[in-house]
Symmetry: C2
Subunit: 353 residues, 2 copies
DNA sequence: CTGATTCACGGGTACGTTAACGAATATATT
DNA sequence: AATATATTCGTTAACGTACCCGTGAATCAG
């Protein structure tokens, strides 16, 4: 540890070289008006020459601005604990940037109630935040909301699924199509001739369903492009309670006793696992997401593979992106696809969500 | 954006409540001497009460300390570009924390020359850094070096492989055993009865070899615990040039024409891929690391799976840990195992190293 | 009892940046 | 020409913390 040497950087040095006060340098740096063209260019030249970079610490410290960010994601329901992870990411980001003068207000909606979503968006707009992190489950309503945000010049970041209207500061989430494609690729290693594949979609709300269709599309696309297995079955289940699900599954398994691979297009795979487990079927089960209940079935050897896309990171990165954009106007990747992680019994213990 | 409200936090508020000056509060915070027991306790009480957390920005800004960190990793050789990734991580960390008064000096050694390693450690010790990031390829010499560091009270973080003497601030890297175990688990899905597995170790230096043995051990352990495949072959190749490697492989493939799975225990898998490709063998090839040449063979369909452990993150996290420990004495995970990532042709494009 | 030493504490400046406020000069208006 | 208005710039007080230096009081040595 040494004393800091007297470096010749910073606004002070720039001011000295330009024979002006630091206030003038500051004006140029934030290109505010009140500086003659001449001196402005002179200062810009010196900034270039020194390739000055502002001290972020001092910047944030001296800035009396407070940034208020709002997050809107589904509440954690009994049906699925998926949204626990993004929330954790949000909380972590909150903790890290709280000191930097950032206030984060968290809002939640019920994934089964569109009204709750709309209501929360209204509350958020009234609070007039500086930026928004949104998980847009309901497409139409989300489009309306984000259009409004653009009108009001409030930047927003989307996580988990994208919207068709564009204009977000960034999308951070999975490439659904490719995650399905990957799953099919895995399956291609696992399946033998004559065996059947079963695709299982479990979802109540139509909007979320769109999510699943994208994955299914990718899944099928793989087999269209490569050697097609003899038979791909599919079942859509619109109830999310265990009993209904088991009934549907039981039916289709009775009808087809040569199903070898089961691909569940979302995190409800644990419910399918419950059925497979109790009915002692010998199938390979592939599903989505690093949830406690899924991991348990993986450890038991019922679920073979889980595809996962770092939901916690999505929340975390989303907020950090907003913060960096607002505080330092740093560039943000417009589309940030999460990696498509493959989990098995043997690497899940090391996974970082 | 609003003005910051007049909050009553910070040393000033503590000082006000305790009827002392901020200097005294500061003394207590850094528990330096010069404060009577009475007032110290009073101040500590108030700190507790407000659950005061120091403003890290102001802390770093006001601190005249400069932290100097040294990194020592293998240089990027023609033989393998593996160390490019950790270096990138180091550079990224450098960029991010440069402003916080951190100077990072990078040192490199030749993985084929122990002397170069020893020499660099000497230079580093002479420079008397505040912390060290080390990739300890040569075990014995590294132990000697780190023992010295502990004597001198210089904290160090290990990446990529751990050392037996303990005492590091943190180990950040793979769990080699489990990565081999995982690979075997994958293989168990892919292999059919009667087919043979070939393990390929390619390494010149004995020390690095230890790395590979750990993976092999994990790999074999899986099959010891589960149904054992009929035949696991193994070949140790001590030359790293393509020609020698191909000769060895050619021999063993001639001898055994029913090898179905090839498991290469490190990143040199691309050289094996070259052989497989040109000799048109139909085998499943599993190897390590997200290197350009490996990805190319994966895209061509020659390499089926790559196991990868975020080498860039290792460099990045290592430095960040050191920084946080030294600057804020924040707690650091003693062992941080990287996730064991499975890459295939279909998810490698989304991978973040 | 005097001088030196130690102890407990406060004053004040610095870190690099922001931005409110106001001064000085130039230009426009009547 | 006198006044009003714009333009261009400097002074200065923050932001929250670190730490040097100085002061007064208590304690100790001789």
């Amino acid at each position: 540890m040494k004393k800091r040497v007297n470096e010749l950087t910073g606004v002070k040095e720039i001011a000295r070289r330009a024979n002006v006060s630091i206030a003038t340098v500051d004006r140029v740096l934030h290109n505010r008006k009140g500086v003659s063209k001449q001196t402005k260019e002179k200062i810009l030249g010196i900034i270039e020459e020194l390739n000055y970079e502002p001290n972020l610490l001092a910047q944030r410290l001296a800035s009396r601005k407070i940034l208020r960010l709002a997050t809107l994601i589904p509440e954690i329901s009994k049906e699925t604990s998926f949204w626990d992870a993004p929330l954790k990411g949000i909380e972590q980001a909150d903790k890290e940037i709280k000191q930097f003068g950032i206030i984060i207000d968290k809002y939640f909606y019920d994934q089964n109630k569109i009204e709750s979503f709309v209501e929360q968006t209204k509350i958020i707009l009234e609070s007039n935040p500086d930026g928004i992190l949104l998980a847009p489950s309901f497409i139409e309503e989300s489009v309306r909301f984000t259009d409004k945000c653009r009108q009001l010049n409030i930047p927003y970041v989307l996580i988990d699924s994208d919207l068709p209207n564009g204009g977000s500061l960034s999308y951070i989430g999975p490439n659904l199509y490719h995650s399905g494609y990957l799953a099919a690729h895995l399956v291609s290693y696992l399946i033998k001739n004559g065996e059947k594949i079963l695709i299982v979609n479990i979802s109540r709300e139509i909007d979320n369903h769109h999510h699943l269709l994208k994955k299914e599309e990718g899944f099928r696309a793989y087999f269209d492009k490569h050697k097609k297995p003899d038979n791909i079955l599919k079942i859509d289940i619109r109830d999310t309670d265990l009993k209904s699900i088991e009934k549907y599954l039981s039916n289709i398994f009775t009808e087809h006793n040569d199903i070898r691979i089961v691909f569940v297009t979302n995190s409800r795979v644990s419910k399918v696992a419950h059925f497979i487990d109790s009915s002692k079927k010998d199938v390979i089960l592939i599903g989505y997401d690093f949830l406690k209940e899924n991991i348990e079935y993986m450890d038991k050897g019922i679920i073979d593979f889980l595809v996962c896309q770092k939901p916690k990171q999505q929340g975390y990165r989303g907020l950090i992106s907003l913060y960096q954009h607002l505080a330092f106007s740093s560039p943000v990747e417009k589309i940030y696809f999460m990696p498509i992680d493959i989990l098995t019994k043997e690497n899940s213990a090391f996974y970082r969500n």
